[in-house]
Each structure stands twice: as structure tokens, then as C-alpha cells.
Amino acid sequence: MSKYGLFLGCNTPALRPDVEHAIRKSMPQLGVDLVDLPGFVCCPAFGTFPSADEDAQLATNAWNLSLGEAEGLDLAVQCGSCYSSLSMGSHLLKDPKKLTRTNELLAKGGRSFKGESKVRHMMDVLYNDVGVDKISKTITKSLKGLHGIVQFPCHTLYPSEVVGFEPDKGPPHVLPDLLEALGATVEHYSLEYQCCGGAGGFHKADAPAAHNFLKSKLDAIKTETKADFIVVSCITCLMWMDVQQKPLSEAGEETYNIPVFDYNQLLALCLGAPAEQVAAISTINRDAVIEKIK
């Protein structure tokens, strides 16, 4: 049984708690114990302290990391932004000067950080700790007959010097492999590795451009694949791809209604968890897919 500090960030618990519930339901069944971290704060998101003050950025990163470190735990993270922010923080804190300065600040809040606690993405834990074999053996229902495409969260891929958990160089395959372990058929298409465009200030700066960017991706999925659903592993990707299909459909001739799931939601469903708890909140109706999970 492995044990991690569960770092949830802001969006998941506040806006998509069904994903949180899916995590809480699925991971322990696969032997991953998750421990809550009292007093956790925002990772901090890149648009906050990282855009304002590096000291505050690293202090906040270290605040969260120190909560795990105090328990002797690494952090398990689902949101791509949180994962990336915390990983970047850990990376920068390898610089002894920065670590010292950060500890000066942490001391004011009564904490300290040695740099021991690591940041792991939920998919990293599932792939590299649990393993696809165990997943396919443990599930009681499967996605057999369903076609899915994968949205790779950029934050889990780049920069590969700082983040990532693919076992080898070359095209990423952890997420597709995990999806296949659930019995789904994974399809590939031209814009597979394109960003969803949902994070940061892109849509604030130019909403039509951000929409078009997503549209190109959805169009490619529609014309090139038989996808029944999109699977993501980042709360930002999930919300952006789920929520924006409606305005996109309203604005143009094309209609988009491709259900979007977080991987843990599908995993929990395959482990028999009730959809009302683990896959309840979405803009695009997901019932058709959920019904087919047998």
C-alpha cells in the first residue's frame, strides 16, 4: 500500500467535486492510500504569485510541499496546473539560494521545507506505482466497445526537464495505455498533442481565438475519429473542453457534444462507483457513455 498526501488545489474541490470523489473512491481500491493535507492553499496558480513575485510563489509552493514533507509523504496531484506549479517550485528550490530565502519566509508562518517531498501526478502514480495490469485485473466493469481520445495535459509533458512521468522518450503513451487498461479503444488523430487552450489568460486576451483554437481540435476529433468521449487528466482541460462546447455550437453551424471525463472518473465507474457521486457534474451530457460501461 503506497501513501500520498492528496493535493486538490482550488478548482477540483470547489467546482468539480465529483472528480475528487472519483479519486477518493478509485485510488484506495488500487492500493493507493490518500491522506488529506490540513491547511493546504492554492498551488499557487501561474496567474497568481508566479506572475507577481517569485518569493511569494516559492513560499506558497513550499508551504504546500512542507505539509507533505512533515508527514513524510510525497504529494499526489490531479490538476495539471497544480502539478506543474508545484513541480516548477520544487525544481527552482533545488537552487540553495532560493531554498534558503524561502525558508526565511516559511519561518514567518512557522513552517520549513527541506526539499524532500516530491510531486507526483495521479497518472504517474497509477501507471508507475499501480501498473496497467493491476488496473485491468481489478476493474469490475469495462469500457469495451467504447472509443476514446486522450487530451494530454500540457502541464504533465513540458518542460520535460521539470515535469513528466513517461517511461521513455518519444511520443507520450501513459494516458492512452491507462485508458486501454479500462478496455476502451484509443484513437489517434492529427491534433492529438495540441493544447486545449483553456489555461491562463489566452481566452481573456482573445476569446474568439481561444475558441477557434479549441474548435480546430474538436473538429479534428469529429472528422478523424469515432470518439465517444474525451478523457483528460487535468481539471482545467476538463472544464474548458466540457463547458466551451456549448457556446461553440451556438456560434457556428457545427454542433459539439462530446462527453469529457477525467480519467479517475472512468476508473471509478469501472470499479463500480455510482455515477451520481463520481461523474455527476458536466455541461455535456455523459449518460450515453456511462450507460455503456458494463
Binding site: E161, K169, G170, P171, S190, Y193, Q194, A220, E224
Partner: protein, 1012 residues
Amino acid sequence: MTHPQSNQSEGKVLVVGGGMGGMRTALDLAESGRDVVLVDKAVSIGGLMTQLDRTFPTNNCDLCTLSPNLSQAGRAHRIDLRTMTRVEATKGEQGAFEVTLTTTPRHIDIDRCTACGDCLRDHPECVSFTPGLDHRAPTCMRYPQAIPQAYSINMEQCADVDALVKSCPVGAIVIDDKITTVTETFGSIVLAPGAEVYDPSPIAALGYSEQPDVLTSLEYERLLSASGPTGGKLLRPSNGQAPKKVAWLQCVGSRARQADQGVSYCSSACCMFAIKEAIVTKERFGTDIETTIFNMDIRTSGKGYEAYYQRSKDTDEVRFVRCRTQNLQAGETGALQLRYLPEESDTFVTEGFDMVVLSTGFFIPEDIRTLADQLKVDLNAHGFALTDSFHPVSTSRAGVYVAGLFEGPKDIPETMVQASAAACMAATHVGVTPDASPTEELPPERKIDDEPVRVGVFVCECGENIGGVVDVDNLVSHAQTLGDVTHSENVGYGCSAESMEHIRETIVEQKLNRVVIGGCSPRTHLTRFQDLLRKAGLNRYLVDIANLRDQDAWVHRDAPELATAKGRELIQMGVAAVRQSKPLADQTLPMSQDVLVVGGGVAGMSAALSLAGQGFKVHLAERENELGGEARNLRRTLEGEDVRTQIEHLVAATEGHDKIQVYTGALIVDHGGMPGKFTTGMQVGPQLFYRQITHGATVLATGALANRPSVYMLGEHDAVSTQHDIESLLEDDTDTVKTWSKVVMIQCAGSRTKENPACSRICCQSSIKNALRILDVNPAASIWVLYRDMRTIGMQEDAYQEARRRGVIFVRYDPENPPQVEPVDDKVKVTFHDPILADDLSMHADRVLLSTGFIADDEGTEELARIFRLPRTEDGYLLEDHIKLRPVDLPTLGFYVAGTAHSPKSIKESVAQAQAAASRVQTLLARGEINLGAAVARVEASRCAACLVCVRACPYGVPFINADGNSEIDPALCHGCGICAAECPAKAIQLQQFDDDQILAKLEGLLERITA
């Protein structure tokens, strides 16, 4: 004639690596009378070149030009070629290195193997002719001209050894071939192990490992190549269709700092080879194919390369986009989508391409670092052999030299120059040995003038190769019916040692005086049989081969009767031709061993010293009153070497050498004679005293001029000067430099223009050198470099990046919209456009430094070229014989070029070319007398109508109308193409070995039974 020698020991030279570089070195050494052991770890030699399609800048293949030389030289017993061989260890020092060499077993006896391919056909699992060239086409043939023409066997993969052995009809397969290790002594060593090509898989964004239509340039070359996986058809690996749009991405694996993106330096050759590939694509596969090259700078600074680049834009419509893109995605239709923002534009483009070629650069693999380690040779930070400007091919270990890619990234011409230079240096430790080929043992040539023609016909069965298809006995009996044939027989394997001896005996016993071999291709076997005839006491030109194997049995296996009938005709043709053949004498000339070097700059002095060091008497003519040339105006090189001190050393050594006669204030006034015995007249000194010199060879090292164009207010405003002008200021007057707070450098001032089209090659690195020096002296200075392409090739790129690190600002300008310079009191105002900000910028500069580069010494060389009758390029540089293969030889035998007289280049490159010229001179003079072969054109004066047709037709300008009013062809100059003979309306010219009688006789032999 004895060869002048200094204190050299007997011995031989070890050349490691048999690519272009190693081959050239070995050939030069062999031709200059040294014994060479040439080792290559691969199964056949040729290196990278064998994998390329056509090579720039001539866009042709050239292997056919180089590889025959090698088999020819191999024949001279001077080059001991050992493939699949590596260096294990070295001991000792210059003059007597003890080297341990290990050869892995090939399991095939090269001398017996006839390259029939039966073993490969029957046992493809363990026999290879191609050492896995291309991971996408593992079975393609390496190249048709492979040397040795042999296969290799991996015994471990062989399931049935007995069957394998039996598959070889000549018994060439050796089962218990063992690893052999020998230790030999060498006087000197030349390293030419090349480099490897970057594997782009780590750059995931470029999709190389996923997308079949993303190729490296080497793979693309294989695709274009006739011997490649597609047989020379340009097809997309993904779907086998012809591409309509191809993109090249430059600098893949080069010019990077980030881990995994490759090396930091510039690989130097890839801009040119991408342009070449684009041009060849259009030329061969349709002008409607769109070709686009994505780049940051186009680095075409070699001789003629700038024109090549411009032509590719203007004539071939190759498109150049300034942007490094790493956004490659497979599009819906299978096309590869590239997204980019051209530097000149503000609109993003997403464009589909059918193929994307990655211009991957060179790096030194671990394997070669190990080799260097064994030889105790120092490497630079990137693993290339460490050399310096004044010793361009000398490694840190005395007696060990380097050439080609292992010295730094470069193209073929530069490799060839270094290879000859390395040969020159290696020769300093090794004496000339008498030719080991047993000339003395040969019987005298029999006089056959009075003998009746007696033709012997020997037909090979070559195992099943001929005998399995053609009825050999039928050919033998048919031959007996032909006129003058007095002997004919089936000889089994004609080229086996036993058969050769039998044929020799038969010739002697039967007093045969003409021989026809019914065998394989004369391309591969003619010299062997010519040698055999000579051994049998006959002139070597009395034999012909009927190509029964490659051009008959092998191609008509399905129609044995037709093959036999054709075989009869081929024998008829052979017999008819030899009946007409006459003994021919090879042309010879005695040679003077003195050398004239014209020009006393770095190049001229280096060439003179190299030659004098080898014991040749050198006459060095310099038109100025002192030696040193252009380099006297330089103080430091980019690498920090002290040029002035080095030049002083060179001048002292040259003037002090007892074998060098220096003439300053010398003016060449007349010239005549033949290669090997030229006479040149000059007027020397203030009194214009006339001297005439006799010399066997001439080196031209007359340099080029520092350009001083009237642009950007040069000469009109004190704040404007050239980079050259501040060389001394930077050393001697740093106080002035400290007053400059803003310096603007303008690149390509007067170069790459209509008036002076060439790139001056040295001025990009010069400006970096000076920028860094200014910052040393005055760290607060703000330095701006306005450039068109930064051409900091090879390791110069490191300095370029260092300049950026230290804050120099680089802004590209477009030649259509060049910077403007206006006076503002004691400063100047410079206005220019910045494509990155898409805005104009202006500033007041304390100093504007123009990178003015070179201009050919048009007047000087025009006169000289006229006197020596040498051709020049359009922009006034001397024109070499072959830009790639013979970059040092001028088209007239006996003339060589070195330094900037050839094209703009650095000191290092000038010295290398000077040493190369010295090597080329030695290859010529070592012959003592020139053997020009027999295939030369001869004019029958009585038939000549002096119509000048031949004069115009000859590609080498050999024929001339002599004092008697007839055309005359100097056999020493004739290349033997026969074009003049074909053109001459009076039929006054015959090309020996291929004269009309022989060709017509062949036709008659073939056709006589048809019309008769």
C-alpha cells in the same frame, strides 16, 4: 631520377578511416612514393560519400571519378587496404609508432570473391552487402562501386554453414576466419575517421520517430540515390506516392544549448546540402514540386556557394523561410502540417507538406573519442581533434595528423584540402620507397609488328554465372571460326590464380599476340588482364574483354539461347577489335624537381616551407618588397592566436631556409614549357633584373585584396572604418576604444553584392572577434551587429553565442532595405529596420565598423592568368580543376593554388591549402617522369585543315594551332575523352585505345553476318 629527400626514415603511413578524406590522403601519399596502410572499420570504404546522392556544388556523383583511382592505386601496391579493421593501441613516437591493428573476420576471401552475390541470394540471413544503411530500408545495396567489391558474412547468424560454403562457386567463403591482431611500425599516422550524423529522435516535437515522412537528410539522400531503397525514385515512405511539397528544417541537432537538442556549434555543410537536395529534387522530379527551406541563417560561404544559393532562389524557385519551427503535426490528409511565423511577417502560417527533411548535423561519437584516446590526441570541447590556425592538420601529438570531419564539420572540398595537407605533413616523417610492384621482373615486351595476328580467346564459365546460362563450349568453338583466331578455350574461372597462370603460359607457348577474354566487366577486370598480358611479354593494350557475365548471362537468364547467340556476337566484336589493336606506349616526360611559388603571404610561405622541408628547391616570388601578405594587417585570430608573431616566425623561417630562394619585388613576365619542365621569367627588384627559372611545378598563392568599397560613408566620416582598420587599435590604442559607448557593425559591406557577389567568409567571425575584444577593453560598450546571415561556421558559432551572452545585439537587415548612415557631428546616426520588432530603429554611434571582407585582385590575377594560361572565375579568383575532388589542382597539370587566390578563406584554411598544394606537387614530382597512359588523342598533321573545331570542342582547351599551322595536342594535357576526335571534320584526330578503326571493327564484327 632521384627524389630529393631530407632526413626521413624508411617506413609507412597509417591512415585511419577510408572516407573521402582518408582516400585522398592515401592516394596522395602513394602517388608521392610512400607506402600506406589504409584501415576502415566498415566493410567497404567511401564513408559518408557512398550514401549521398549527388553532391554540391556540381550536383553530380563523382564516385565514378574517385573510386577507380583507388583501385588503380591499390594496383600500385602502395596502398594496403584493410577493411573491418580498427586501431587497438599505439606506442612509440613520431618516426616509429607501434600500432596494434585488429581485423574482424569477413569470412570471405576478397581476392577470390567475384561479387556474384550467390551467397547473399541463398543465405540472406547472414550475408550482407549493406551494413544497415538506413533503418527504413535495411536491404538496399550499399553502392555499385563499392571497394572492395565484396560481401561479408556474419557466421553467428548462419544456420547451415556447409550449405553456405557450398553456395559460393569459387570457394571464397572461409569458415574459420579469425580475428587477427598485428602490430606494425609506422612513421606517421593520419586520422580521418569522419563523424556521425545526429539522430533527431530526442526532439519529440519534430516527430521523427513517429512520422514515416519525416526523414533525416541522409535518408533523403538515400531516397534520391539510384542505389537507394527506391531505386532513385522520390516516393513518400508512408504511401509510396510522389511528394508535391517538401520542407527542410535547418540546424536540427546543431546550434543549440539545450540538452537533447544537439550540439552548440554549426555543422557547416547542412545549409549547402539542403539547398542541393532541394535543387536536385526539382531538377529530377519535376519543377512543380515545391521546396521550402526553413532556416535562421543560410551559411553558404564556400567558393561559389553564395551564387549557388542565389541561383536556387532565382532559377530553381527554392523558397527560403526565416523561422525555426518545431511545430510539426500530422494533418488530416496525412500531410505534415508546419506552423510558423516568418521573420518578415506578422501572420502565422500553417502549411501542409508531404515530406519534411531534417538537416541534421555532425557530432563525434564515443567510438572516435576512444580512438583519439588510444592515440593520445587532444580533443576540443566538442570532441573534434584540436588543431591551430598555423598548423591546421597537426594534432597535439607529434607525428599524428588529422583530416576531414574529425577536425571539424566541413564539406567535401574542405575535406579534400585537409586530406592532401595531412598527406604532406605525414610524408615529412616517411621516406620515399621504391615502388614495390615488380617492374624489373617483367619480361621485355615482345615486338609483334612482323608477326601475323594470332588471337587467343579465353572464355570464362565463372561457375554458374556464365556457364549456367550461356553455352560456353559453343562460344569456344564459334570463336575458332573467326578470322585470325588461333586458340580458343574454356578457362573456368578466368581470373583465378591458376587460370591466369595458364593463360599466361598459353600466350607464350602459342605465340599469341592478341587476347580476348570472354568474362565479366572490363570496368572491374580489364587492368588485371592487361597486367597479365604484360607478364606474358605482350603490350598491355592488346587485350579486350567481351562482357559475357554482367551484360549477357546475368540479364538473359530466361533466354539461354538468345544469350548464347549474343555471346557469340560479343566475342566477334572483341576479336574484331583486338585484331585492329596496336601496341601503345604510355606517354612519359622527364621532370624538374624545382618548384615556383608565386606569392609570399601565409599560403605561399607555408607551401614553400613544406616543400623545402621535403628537400625540394623552391623559388618564391613576391611582388611586394616584403613577405607576409594580408596577414600582416591582422593581430589576433578569433581563437586568440597572436598572428603577428606567427607571421614573423614564418618570414624568418622562409628567408632563412637554404632550399628557398626568395625574390621580392618580383614581377612574372613570361612563361612556357611543359608540366615537369616549365620556364618562367620574372623581373626582380628595383632594377627590374630579368631572371628565368626552370621548375617542374608551380604553386599560385597570390592572395586576394582587402576590400574597401565606398559605402556607408567609408572614407567620408572619421567615425566610419573597416573591421580591418581597428585590428591594431584594439591591441595598441585601447584608450580610444574605451571612448566608444555605442558601436555599430555592418556586415556584408561590399560583399554579396552585384559587384562582388561572393561571401567573404571571414568577416562574420572577424566582427565577433572584434566585438569580444572591444568588450574586453570596454565592458560598458553597447555593440550592435547588423547582418544578413551570421556565418559563423563550425566552432565559430560558440564565439557567436558568447558574443550574445556578453550582450552584443544582432539585428538582421534586408539588402533591399540596408541600414542608413548619416553624419551627426563627430558621430553618425544609423537607422535600420528590425524585423523582430517590425519597426525602424535609429541611434547615434560613436563608431561604425564595416565588415568589408575580400575582393579578388582582379588586375593582378588577370595578368597572371594570361601569362600562365589559367582560367578564372567570373569574379576573378583562380578556377580549380574540380571544385570538389581536386580543389587544389588547377586545370593545367603542374599548377596548384593555395590561399585566398582560390577564394576567401581564413589563415587556417589558407595554410591547409598551402600544405595540400605541397602534397599535390610531390605527387607530381615523385613520378620523376610522367606516365600519361595511352588513351590520348593524336593529330595526323597532314589531314588537319586548321579549322579550329577541336580547339573549341576540347573541354580542357588542349588542342592549339601550332607554328606549322596544324592542330597540336599535348599528350601531357589530354584527358582522353575523344571529343575532339569525334568533332574533327577532317578525321585528323584519333584517340588511342579507342581509335576509329577499332570501333568500326567492333561494329563490323557485330554486324558482318547481317548485311554480308
